[in-house]
């Protein structure tokens, strides 16, 4: 996992590997730590996620709820192109529930305007 502030109000957090029962506790803690200042936009880069289990989907839903509760928004990058993420989201009917950005550059362009 890594995080990078792209703008004063935009944080990019990249998650890699499996998002399942074994790993979500650490990822949850990491997200809490790196979004504690309530950034307006939280971007999760899921390009390197290798498996998305139900626990991982729950993590994404919670992350979105938390962002919205703080007046912010959650954006997912890599989810639409990474089949290992897109497939379970499609199965669960959640592709419209999240903001699936085509790529980071496009997303940043939209957020900057």
């Amino acid at each position: 996992m890594s995080s990078r502030w792209l703008r004063p109000h935009i944080v990019l957090i990249a998650i890699c590997g499996d998002l399942d029962m074994a790993t979500t506790p650490q990822v949850t803690a990491y997200l809490a730590e790196h979004t504690a200042t309530r950034p307006q936009h939280v971007i999760l880069d899921l390009t390197e996620v290798e498996f998305l289990a139900a626990h991982g989907v729950q993590l994404l839903l919670t992350a979105q709820d938390n962002a919205q509760a703080g007046g912010g928004r959650l954006h997912l990058v890599g989810a639409s192109t990474n089949r290992r993420v897109h497939y379970p989201l499609t199965v669960l009917g959640l592709t419209d529930h999240f903001d699936l950005a085509p790529d980071l550059a496009t997303l940043l362009g939209n957020l900057d305007t």
Binding site: F51, A54, H55, T62, L94
Partner: protein, 185 residues
């Protein structure tokens, strides 16, 4: 019992650790590949097995076995635990974590919990089958698979998924089974 020579089968045992699902995914993927099952056909089977194993770890908390058999175009998965407690469906809202529904209506919440801890039995499956089938997290994961299949949106097919039930051949433990049909051959 007569067993077809074309029926291939194997199983693995796991300790009830959070890492069990990852191990199960790796071993099942490798086995299916060795049996000549393509990645597209293996993917839904691995996904389902992963959730069933996680469920057993979380709610039975005992050693468990994942079994797989493959014959023709059907992949059969079973996960068996050894909990002396009978499995119970856990009725709750998809949005129970938040306590309320989201503004734009109910959404699948994908936490797990096919098998619940012992205690109250105030929601017999019979009465809440529909509710639990729709809202139960484990099934919140798997029922959309069926919906997608019905809607023709998925190439893969989940033929059947059982609720956790008593194992026939032992006093303790529950078995959950799923059948996946390969569609690429």
């Amino acid at each position: 019992m007569k067993v077809s020579p074309l029926r291939r089968t194997t199983r693995w045992s796991y300790a009830p650790l959070p890492t069990a699902a990852g191990s199960a995914r790796a071993q099942l993927s490798a086995q299916l590949l060795a049996w000549g099952v393509g990645e597209d056909d293996a993917e839904p089977a691995v996904l389902i097995a992963s959730e069933l194993v996680s469920n057993a770890v979380e709610h039975a908390g005992t050693a468990l076995e994942l079994g797989v058999s493959f014959e023709g175009s059907v992949i059969s998965l079973t996960v068996r635990d050894h909990s002396p407690r009978p499995p119970r469906l856990q009725p709750h809202s998809l949005n129970r974590r938040a306590g309320t529904r989201t503004a734009d209506g109910p959404r699948p919440r994908a936490a797990l919990g096919l098998r619940t801890a012992p205690g109250r039995q105030d929601h017999p499956c019979r009465h809440h089958r529909q509710q639990t089938a729709r809202s139960h997290p484990g099934y919140a994961w798997l029922n959309p698979v069926r919906d997608q299949v019905r809607a023709g949106k998925m190439r893969k097919c989940l033929l059947a998924l059982s609720h956790p039930g008593p194992s026939r051949d032992q006093a303790a433990g529950a078995t959950t089974a799923a059948l996946c049909r390969m569609t690429s051959r």
